[in-house]
């Protein structure tokens, strides 16, 4: 049953990314060059809605949260490497799947690269774990646990700020 739910959620996820233009090189690079705001507005809206919904669920004890541990160095270095790869390929791990599904060959090459990258990481893991993952690991920290107040009271203003920025502040910036 869980497998079927995963499959159906994946179908909807793929469809949304496709229809919203997230698998488009032009839109991703437009975003990173700070010209085209559609993708960043899409992400801010999704996080705004998601954050509010997840912490409402959490109030009822219904949220199956999955908090990633905050090992500062690994997350920082990993994020930088990831960001460079994102700008070079124009895809992220999710959108290269969608790009491949619409027959884009460069997306297929990104998938092959991604499988290779995951393999290389598995070889480097023992060393990286010592250097970047074990030190400065603060565990599954959230704004809720850091500020010591109920998450919903952070989620409400955070979500309002994101939605306000997406809907009223950010504008496309073509010369």
């Amino acid at each position: 049953m869980t497998l079927l739910i995963g499959f159906l959620i994946g179908c909807a996820f793929g469809a949304i990314l496709y229809l919203g233009g997230a698998s488009s090189y032009r839109r991703i690079l437009g975003t990173l060059l700070l010209k085209d705001m559609a993708i960043i507005k899409l992400m801010m809206t999704a996080i705004g809605v998601g954050s509010l919904g997840i912490y409402l669920l959490d109030m009822g004890g219904l949220a199956n949260m999955s908090i990633k541990p905050a090992y500062v160095w690994g997350v920082l270095v990993g994020g930088i490497i990831f960001g460079i790869g994102w700008a070079v390929s124009g895809y992220c791990p999710g959108t290269c799947i969608v790009g491949a599904s619409e027959g884009k060959k460069d997306a297929v090459f990104t998938i092959l690269g991604a499988l290779t990258g995951a393999f290389l990481f598995s070889l480097a893991f023992p060393v990286l774990e010592e250097w970047l993952i074990k030190p400065a690991n603060f565990g599954q920290v959230t704004m809720e646990s850091m500020l010591g107040i109920d998450g919903i009271w952070i989620a409400i203003p955070f979500s309002a700020a994101l939605l306000f920025t997406a809907f009223f502040v950010l504008k496309d910036n073509y010369e």
Binding site: T2, I9, G10, F13, L17, A46, V75, G103, F121
Partner: protein
């Protein structure tokens, strides 16, 4: 350059937020990058079982008989199917500049060579997954799902990723005014 996607960012953003809430209520939040490791592990357990057993990272994500194919892997498979179906239904409505394997914007800046584009796509892919596995997630797991859960680690990832990606994009397209 401003021809619209098939649905607006508002519609896509709101539906993605609702989908994330649904996923979190039913099973767990969205995530993609782990499944590349699961796939690697499944392949290597077939072609090089001893190597796969000995690799501490890969052996966490699957065994020879149990491939670790679960909710997350089915989600990624669903993305492939969902994307393909949507493409069949709505492909014609897609802006011209978003079609094909050679983005016009890339061609203008880096020339006609398909080899060059595919090499960049491959190399970018290597960096994407190496970085995502080091950081513990990607755009969906860290940024969308993680920041929605107000996780500190995901805020760090979001800032590092966007910072590096913006600088790299500006560097790649330094010659032209877009």
């Amino acid at each position: 350059m401003n021809d619209k996607s098939i649905i607006s960012w508002k519609a896509a953003g709101i539906s993605l937020g609702l989908l994330l809430i649904l996923a979190t209520a039913l099973v767990k939040p969205l995530g993609v990058s782990t499944q590349f490791v699961v796939s690697d592990a499944a392949i290597l357990h077939q072609v090089a079982p001893e190597f796969a057993e000995d690799n501490t990272y890969l052996s966490k994500y699957g065994e020879k008989t149990d491939w670790g194919i679960g909710y997350g892997w089915m989600l990624v498979l669903g993305m492939l199917v969902g994307g393909a179906i949507t493409n069949m239904l709505f492909g014609k409505k897609r802006p011209e500049a978003d079609k094909g394997s050679m983005p016009p914007m890339w061609k203008q800046n880096f020339g006609e060579s398909r080899l060059k584009r595919n090499a960049a796509a491959f190399g970018g892919g290597v960096l994407l997954l190496f970085g995502a596995r080091l950081a513990g997630g990607c755009t969906s797991g860290h940024m969308i799902s993680g920041i929605s859960q107000l996780a500190l680690s995901s805020f760090i990832f979001g800032i590092a990723t966007f910072g590096a990606a913006i600088l790299m994009a500006k560097f790649l397209y330094r010659k032209r005014r877009v």
